[in-house]
């Protein structure tokens, strides 16, 4: 990305992740300015399309978390008005943001994801689904995690250790989305693997950055590397989220109240590290991600198996977010990381020509 251009950083919006998004956006903005771009920060609101039409940026840098930025509507809109943008396209966004859809696809593709059941609030009224809750519970086994299907923040993620906790967990999760996923709880270690398209036009496998990121190996290429050899995705070092308290089941506190420390690279055996990274890249490709994404996994305590939970197409980019930490551990500075994310706008095989 040598030529400087006009970049609109899209951030904020009315979602529950507004604050994180504003911080991500501010950091991205600073980096992009250091890289010599003319940067316009936009707090996304009802005037977004008119403003973009008036400002005519060369690229929209998406730092908008939550449903507004990640479900694909924004991306489709940008395509409609001819503004190239960073990260994944509408289809991948739709697949990743809907946890149920992503899990269906992973299960079909043979990627290990904890057993689950998907439920819509209407199906309770219209199909009498409530009567099946016991069966769902019997099939999945306790404890269970209940998640809004399309909510990025930890809010609304509920834990049910006993049968009688399940209805309240479901009601809670339904407060954030009319679709929920009831998932078997995997006790173990929390891992996150960020995946990045390899840099620009450099040969892909040599661009493998971190000493421990051994994924994105040549073997993977056959699956989707047909058109774009130059952007083979590579996995960054694994980050582990370590809760400060034992037996800590409250997801909200776990991720939001600073009860967690992050270790990067995670202290794992080489085999587990490689396996986690390989899985992350597989998921990235399976869901059709582009540019960057973060894949969250669990390493099960009981059998050392890895389970993929979900994929975030617009990972946090604040100073303490997992993606910048992982990139840093791989020797990729924040500015370089932002440059690579920005470059993803030009490499997508989208309908929009890129002028950067």
């Amino acid at each position: 990305m040598s030529a400087a251009g006009r970049v609109a950083v899209l951030k904020g919006g009315p979602s529950l992740e507004r604050h994180v998004s504003l911080r991500s956006g501010a950091h991205a903005q600073e980096a992009l300015e250091r890289l010599g771009h003319e940067v316009l920060g936009l707090d996304v609101g009802p005037d977004l399309v008119p403003v973009l039409r008036a400002e005519r940026p060369d690229v929209a840098f998406i730092a908008l978390h939550g449903r507004d930025g990640e479900e694909g509507t924004l991306q489709a809109l940008l395509e409609a008005i001819g503004v190239p943008y960073t990260g994944s396209g509408p289809a991948a966004c739709a697949r990743c943001t809907d946890k149920a859809l992503a899990k269906h696809l992973m299960r079909e593709a043979g990627i290990p994801t904890p057993d689950f059941h998907f439920l819509r609030e209407e199906s309770i009224k219209q199909l009498g689904a409530a009567a099946a809750v016991e069966d769902i519970e019997d099939r999945l086994g306790l404890p269970l995690v209940v998640k809004p299907a399309r909510q990025g923040s930890a809010l609304g993620v509920k834990f049910a250790r006993a049968s009688d906790e399940l209805p309240a967990a479901m009601v809670g999760a339904f407060s954030y989305d009319d679709r929920i996923v009831i998932e078997r709880y995997v006790k173990g270690r929390d891992l996150a693997v960020s995946v990045l398209d390899s840099a620009g036009r450099e040969p892909s496998t040599d661009g493998n950055p971190g000493e421990r990121s051994s994924s994105g190996s040549p073997g993977e290429r056959s699956s989707s590397g047909r058109r774009e050899e130059a952007r083979d995705p590579v996995a960054l070092p694994v980050v582990e989220a370590v809760p400060r308290e034992e037996e800590f089941y409250d997801y909200e506190s776990r991720y939001e109240i600073g009860m967690t420390t992050f270790v990067c690279p995670a202290e794992l055996g080489d085999r587990t590290t490689a396996r986690a990274q390989r899985l992350a890249v597989e998921v990235y490709k399976l869901l059709g991600c582009h540019g960057v994404a973060r894949v969250d996994l669990m390493l099960a305590e009981e059998d050392d198996e890895l389970w993929v939970l979900e994929t975030n197409v617009v990972p946090g980019m604040t100073e303490t977010s997992l993606l910048p930490q992982a990139a840093d551990a791989a020797g990729i500075g924040f500015d370089e990381l932002m440059a690579r994310v920005l470059a993803s706008a030009a490499t997508r095989t989208a309908t929009v020509p890129v002028r950067l």
Binding site: R34, A169, V171, S175, E256, F334
Partner: protein
């Protein structure tokens, strides 16, 4: 933002690594590192949108203050006291303002030595200064449960450990307080102070009974403990007889010239005049006062002389029939807030009905409503503000652990027009019924639901505790249990789905 390549001390293109970005994190003190925003608080920030009816604010109504009077007072300050208004003032406050404070306290039957008053930048600063003066990391503060949500981050910032005592209709139960103090003593921990809002508590809406006030002062004296009496709403009483302040009871116990020696009193002009003035005060024993003064010097040197002079000009104003203007305005506020309280109580009866219980405050700004314990009000807020554009404060904000109080909510009736109160409560009621209905469908018949809940004591045993589903893995919230068995936060409407517990609770009435 700096243009590229112009940062001092950097060669060529800046390369900010995550390490570099994290370097700020490394520079933060352990104290501020503990200050983290919670998802719930971030969600509350979203409610400050213009299209949202917010019953969440802690606001009094400032629209009733006469614009002409405001202009006149400001003009008088500007013309008569230009140099003084524009200058620094003494840290302890201006004598003219202290005189007003003496008048306000006298209106509550409390006499005070002007030498023991410090004028502060809002009442909130008193909480901060008291913590600054008294709290080392790990020190214990005893507070009510629920407690003032605005004190929660302050206590957290000083790394205090907070033991919260569940209130009932008469405020903090003192026998429960004593048990907690005994338990802390057995652990070798001595609390630094007891934090209480005795009148129309925020957020609980309840008032500490006279008997408990006396007993609290006795306990403080027996054990040589400080009490921080936070009294922003004492003059906003809409019914019932005023009760003496803890400060005056302590002063009585001391005897002599009439100063308390264990109660630190917190007052404010925010609720009887204007929060925008940022004008509050503390009355404290001299040695404590000196530390508060030193702390304030470090914080802001002095409270704005402009607003201090404004208040003294205001208090010099005469009203109708020889009554001071400020007392007359207070009467107007009482009438307004009393009516709004009644509007909200009616709306709650109509729209929450059997799905909740709520306090019937005799004054203040807030009603505390407790719903079916299986409803989590943080989730309810997410749904309410998204689908109904209405907001309230989730109960968890009033608990240090961020988890208790999960089925309660604080509703402000004072700063909201009547119509918005009705409409806001109606909207919350709609979301609430939706959730209760969904819950009912998921659990089948209410009988089945009850028998399922029975093993953990049943929902009727401790409804006000409002445990979130995950809360059981944590240790019992300190000192919370005993109080709730005796009673709840004041008058309630019974939940029909809790027939089993009804008998037990009825006697609370």
């Amino acid at each position: 933002m700096d243009p590229p390549g112009k940062r001092p001390g950097e060669r060529g293109r800046t390369r900010a690594t995550a390490h570099e970005l994290a370097r700020y994190e490394a520079l933060f003190s352990a104290r501020t590192r503990a200050m983290k925003s919670s998802a719930m608080r971030e969600m509350m920030a979203l409610t400050e949108r213009p299209d949202v009816i917010s019953l969440a604010g802690g606001l009094p109504d400032t629209t009733t203050f006469a614009p002409e009077l405001y202009a006149k007072l400001m003009a008088r300050v500007a013309a008569d006291s230009t140099a003084r208004a524009l200058q620094y003032g003494p840290t302890e406050g201006m004598a003219a303002t202290v005189e007003c404070i003496v008048q306000v306290m006298a209106a509550e039957g409390t006499s005070v030595d002007p030498q023991e008053i410090i004028v502060t930048t809002g009442g909130q600063q008193v909480i901060d200064l008291v913590c600054k003066a008294l709290i080392d990391p790990g020190d214990v503060i005893v507070a009510e449960a629920p407690t003032y949500p605005g004190a929660v981050p302050t206590f957290g910032a000083y790394q205090a450990r907070v033991a919260q005592i569940e209130m009932d209709a008469d405020g903090m139960p003192i026998d429960e307080l004593e048990r907690t103090l005994d338990r802390l003593a057995a652990e070798g921990r001595r609390p630094k102070f007891i934090y209480t809002i005795p009148n129309f508590q925020n957020p609980g809406g309840v008032t500490m009974s006279l008997e408990r006030r006396r007993r609290l002062v006795e306990v403080a004296r027996e054990r040589e403990l400080l009490v921080l009496e936070d009294n922003p709403y004492g003059l906003l009483r809409y019914e019932g007889d005023p009760l003496p302040t803890l400060y005056s009871l302590d002063a009585e116990a001391v005897g002599g010239r009439g100063a308390a020696d264990l109660v630190i009193y917190l007052g404010t002009f925010s609720k009887i005049l204007s929060p925008g003035l940022r004008l509050g005060w503390a009355v404290a024993p001299r040695p404590v006062l000196e530390k508060l003064n030193l702390g304030k010097q470090g914080a802001d040197l002095c409270t704005s002389p402009v607003t201090q002079l404004f208040v003294s000009a205001y208090f010099a104003e005469g009203g109708d029939g020889g009554q001071p203007r400020w007392l007359q305005y207070l009467e107007e506020l009482r009438a307004l807030y009393r009516r709004r309280r009644d509007v909200m109580l009616d709306a709650l009866a109509e729209h929450f009905g059997e799905h909740g219980r709520w306090t019937q405050p005799q004054g203040g700004l807030f009603i505390w409503a407790t719903l079916d314990q299986r409803i989590d009000t943080t989730d309810l807020l997410a749904l309410a503000q998204e689908s109904e554009r209405v907001a309230f404060v989730p109960g968890r904000a009033a608990y240090m652990d961020g988890r208790s109080g999960a089925s309660s909510m604080r509703l402000n009736f004072a700063g909201v027009p009547d119509e918005d109160i009705r409409e806001g409560v109606r909207r919350i009621g709609r979301v609430l019924r939706e959730q209760v209905g969904l819950y009912g469908t998921l659990t089948g018949s209410s009988r089945a639901a009850r028998s399922q809940r029975a093993p953990d004591g049943g929902p009727s045993a401790r409804p006000a505790r409002g445990e979130a589903p995950p809360a059981k893995t944590q240790p019992e919230p300190r000192a919370a249990t005993g109080a709730t068995e005796r009673g709840e936060l004041a008058d309630v409407v019974e939940l029909p789905r809790r027939e089993e517990g009804a008998g037990r609770r009825r006697r609370d009435r």
